[in-house]
């Protein structure tokens, strides 16, 4: 059976890149990854992106990215799974190498959100991740769906606003070490608690920011001689799409299924994991992600925050990059940033806080209201 290795990594700083197009940004990360892998070209390029059609008025994106990168003739695909587009592109690329069809492929996750300059406009664009006929129809924003979960979770498990604040504070702290992060400053509990309502009980400081960024990986069936990083497992699953159809609103069922599939493929257990990058688009989703990965019981995710377990020196270092909250969340790029960050950490050259010889890293990327989820397990050599 073919094994799949990460042989190149590239990323841009997440920012408002006013002077770049979506394709230019993607090609930039792609070129960095090709240089890192020391190869000229690949057999195919998989572009993960959610909003280019809506926000940048640009579809047929994958071939345009290849054109910007100067890789004439290379096959290219765009893969979309809302906020999990990046991981969906990784999964597609992984399958293509695993099948034996391709030997070296590139994955690029990209999102260029700042082309939409109004808050209402970007809110509407992101709300296309909801069901347009049964959810958005009523004026629901994407944030609002997450707020419904946060309200109920707080009610059932008696969670206080200060508890969620611990997440944001830690993410901002981690991001100060990451030169590629969008929000490289610390925040206080006071600042968290006094931030404005976006969709109550979600505050501004519970939310990931709007930004532009691209991250890229080169995947190869050829094992590198030095410090090989293997994609040892990938798990995917979908959930009942609409918020109101979930029997259990407080369990990310698809994330849980995806985790089980990924762990089985990689032959690991939750206890084996040295670090995770999880999908904290909102603080509540960070907490639920830890539960879905089997790192905490249902309703106990918040304890990991209170005990300091998610800190870089804790039992399960979480989002050393700063996470979606502070590294940033250029939607379709996020899943690729997560895996790129884990890969660099395993290679011993992290972009943020450095762990002491980690061996296994796990990334969880949630699409929509966790209706399409991807778990990726990396093993260092």
């Amino acid at each position: 059976m073919v094994s799949v290795y990460i042989t190149g990594v590239g990323m841009t700083k997440i920012d408002k890149h006013w002077d770049m197009t979506v394709s230019e940004l993607a090609s930039e990360a792609l070129r960095i990854a090709l240089n890192d892998a020391e190869i000229e070209n690949v057999d195919a390029v998989f572009v993960g992106n959610m909003l280019s059609g809506i926000v940048n008025s640009q579809e047929n994106l994958a071939s345009l990215v290849v054109s910007y990168a100067g890789l004439y003739g290379t096959p290219a695909f765009k893969v979309e799974a809302a906020c999990a587009s990046g991981a969906a592109a990784i999964a597609s690329a992984f399958i293509s190498v695993k099948s034996g069809m391709f030997k070296n492929v590139a994955v690029v996750g990209v999102e260029k959100m700042s082309d939409e300059t109004s808050v209402e406009g970007i809110t509407k664009a992101l709300a296309t991740a909801t069901d347009s006929e049964y959810e958005f129809y009523h004026g629901v924003s994407f944030t609002a769906l997450n707020a419904l979960i946060m309200q109920r979770y707080s009610y059932e498990f008696n969670v206080k606003p200060e508890d969620y604040g611990l997440w944001s504070i830690q993410m901002h702290k981690n991001a100060t070490m990451n030169p590629y992060a969008q929000l490289r400053f610390e925040i206080t509990m006071e600042k968290y608690l006094s931030s404005q309502w976006i969709s109550k009980p979600i505050r501004f400081m519970d939310c990931s920011p709007v930004g532009d960024g691209a991250a890229a990986l080169i995947l190869s069936s050829k094992k590198p001689e030095n410090r090989p990083i293997e994609i040892a497992g990938i798990g995917m699953a979908t959930d009942k799409f609409q918020s109101f159809l979930r029997e259990d609103l407080l369990t990310l069922a698809a994330a849980k299924m995806a985790a089980k599939r990924a762990y089985d493929m990689a032959n690991i257990r939750p206890e084996d994991i040295d670090m995770v990058e999880v999908h904290d688009a909102f603080t509540i989703m960070g907490v639920l992600s830890l539960e879905a990965l089997g790192l905490a019981e249902k309703g106990k995710g918040i304890e990991l925050l209170k005990n300091g377990d998610i800190k870089p020196d804790g039992t399960i270092p979480t989002n050393l990059s700063g996470g979606l909250k502070a590294r940033g969340h250029p939607v379709g790029a996020t899943g690729v940033y997560q895996v790129a960050e884990l890969a660099l950490q395993l290679r011993g050259t992290p972009v943020g806080v450095k762990l002491d010889n980690p061996n296994i890293g796990v990334a969880l990327n949630l699409g929509g209201l966790a209706s399409n989820c991807y778990v990726t397990v990396l093993k260092g050599g």
Binding site: T123, G139, K240, L245
Partner: protein, 130 residues
């Protein structure tokens, strides 16, 4: 919202119709020709109960384009009397007075006005049972 897209869902928006599966018994507030739970096409329409209680809610202060004039407004996840859950705005109540467990009843209202295609969208919202 385009006219065809709107017209397809009118039985749901105006009359709160949903789909019940004769194979597995799964009930949803969606208009579907196939059960989203078991995949059977042996389904029929039914009318959802008009009353229920708030299962969860949020107050939107940062609305998407098209809903600015409602700001702020309340979205509820409503558990209807038969156990089916459904999403909708909660109106005729102060945001501070909404709580989980609040009893609500369906009311027929204007949802949004689409400037571009000129369609005025109607449908259900929920208000407290006095």
């Amino acid at each position: 919202m385009s006219a065809p897209k709107y017209w397809r869902i009118i039985p749901h928006y105006y009359r709160l119709e949903g789909t019940i599966c004769k194979n597995c018994g799964y009930k949803t507030p969606l208009i579907r020709k196939r059960c989203p739970n078991c995949g059977s096409d042996d389904v029929e329409r039914f009318r959802l109960p008009r009353e229920g209680e708030v299962y969860s809610y949020t107050v939107i202060y940062s609305p998407p384009e098209g809903f600015e004039r409602h700001n702020p407004y309340i979205i509820g996840l409503i558990k209807l009397k038969d156990g089916t859950k459904i999403l909708g705005q909660i109106v005729d109540v102060d945001p501070e007075e909404v709580r989980i467990g609040l009893r609500v009843r369906m009311t027929f209202r204007r949802i949004a006005v689409d400037g571009k295609s000129g369609i005025i969208q109607y449908g259900y919202k929920f208000k407290p049972v006095k």
